[in-house]
């Protein structure tokens, strides 16, 4: 091969850089999510935690459409409990600290929802 010295060392460097995310992560400590301040007086959210974590926006979209378009403003959770389908009246009455609950995760994930231009965050957090 022509210039095998350069080609092979180039390949080795390329592979090292290219695969850095894999071995770099193996060597580093495990990622830990941000620490949220959870409500102290509640044990359970309206749905299981994994669901809330991954799909709270889907749920809020459904709440909005059901409440505004169909007048059905009561959400029946999978465990049978009923809740007011309202971000302000239901979610924010438990999660009273927007800065240490919503914002912590959203900042970490670089997600900037604009819910709060209309919905009122609980007092003392803005």
């Amino acid at each position: 091969m022509y210039n095998s010295k350069y080609v092979i060392s180039g390949l080795v460097i390329f592979l090292a850089v290219f695969s850095y995310p894999f071995w770099g992560n193996l060597a580093s400590k495990d990622y830990t999510g941000p620490k949220l301040s959870l409500p102290t007086d509640q044990k359970q959210c309206i749905e299981p935690v994994e669901f809330m974590r991954s799909q709270h926006m889907t749920l809020l979209n459904q709440w909005r459409d059901s409440a505004l378009r169909e007048g059905k403003r009561v959400y029946v959770a999978s465990n049978g409990a009923t809740w007011d389908a309202s971000l302000q009246k239901t979610c924010m009455s438990c999660h009273t600290n927007k800065a240490e609950f919503c914002d912590t995760c959203h900042l970490e994930n670089a997600v900037e929802p604009y819910c709060w231009t209309c919905h009122v965050p609980p007092k003392g957090n803005e």
């Binding site: 749905e47 299981p48 994994e50 669901f51 991954s54 799909q55 749920l59 459904q62 909005r64 059901s66 409440a67 505004l68 378009r69 169909e70 007048g71 059905k72 403003r73 009561v74 959400y75 029946v76 959770a77 999978s78 009923t82 389908a85 302000q88 009246k89 924010m92 604009y114 231009t117 209309c118 919905h119 009122v120 609980p122 007092k123």
Partner: protein, 258 residues
């Protein structure tokens, strides 16, 4: 050589893609399968085929009479007080010749001409605002209420051009600094959307009459226009009433006892 490398890459990429998809789908369906959401109405919700309002204009004689209703609405809905031409109006008062533009006679009762009249969204049966809204941010509920979904409003203001009653206001600025005390039970609006009276649909759904009706203490009546036995129908039968701009055919749901 060439062929086997291609094959290797194909197989490798397919299996990586498959693995990824399985991980993603597995995670999603596990969380979603556990949740079977359903929705229902509030047991207290007030129902009507066609909500309508009857305002007894003879009873509104002082500034306080009007202010009680306006303030009740402002507090319930976080309506800002912005002075000048960019003000936000859900319910307000105006002169006879501005309210009943179709029906002014040259010589008529001075008393009636000097009265002031409430103005608000008429929740028209044929609402032009709904017809022209390109996003369905404005829509008509089955109960006849013309409602707003501020999440969808793009602020194009077609509805303001469509409404012949000037019942809609545009948010030229962020309204929050102009709200004295924010009611945490109701959202505010944001800069760039159009807002208006919603016949207190959020209160009806919770079993309560509109805030202005409650504050008016019998001077404003609210009920089902489609029900001949209802209070509003009785009042219409017994009194002479007007609606605003009837010639336009929008069929307002707000009636004025003169």
């Amino acid at each position: 050589m060439k062929r086997s490398r291609r094959q290797f890459l194909k197989v490798a990429s397919l299996s990586v893609a498959g693995l990824g998809a399985q991980l993603a789908a597995g995670g999603m369906t596990k969380a979603a399968a556990a949740v079977k959401p359903s929705y229902k109405e509030d047991a207290l919700a007030l129902k009507a085929k066609r909500w309508a309002m009857v305002i007894d204009t003879r009873e509104f004689t002082s500034k306080e009479d009007f202010d009680a209703c306006i303030n009740a609405c402002n507090t319930a809905h976080n309506i800002p007080h912005i002075p000048g031409k960019t003000e936000i109006k859900w319910i307000w008062k105006d002169a006879y010749e501005h309210t009943f533009t179709d029906t002014t006679n040259k010589y008529q009762s001075k008393e009636i001409e000097d009265r002031e009249y409430f103005m608000l969204c008429n929740h028209c049966e044929n609402p032009p605002c709904v017809r022209v809204c390109p996003t369905q941010a404005t829509y008509k509920l089955e109960s006849g209420i013309v409602a707003m979904d501020y999440h969808r409003c793009i602020g194009c203001r077609f509805c303001m051009a469509g409404c012949p009653f000037g019942a809609r206001s545009f948010n030229f600025t962020d309204p929050r600094p102009y709200i004295k005390e924010v009611n945490p039970k109701f959202p505010t609006r944001m800069i760039g959307v159009v807002e208006k009276c919603n016949f207190c649909v959020e209160r009806l759904d919770a079993g309560k009459l509109p805030a202005c009706v409650e504050a008016a203490q019998g001077k404003i009546h609210f009920g089902d226009l489609s029900d001949p036995e209802s209070e509003v129908r009785k009042l219409l039968e017994e009194n002479f009433t007007l609606r605003r701009k009837p010639s336009l055919g929008t069929e307002p749901g707000v009636f004025y006892i003169i």
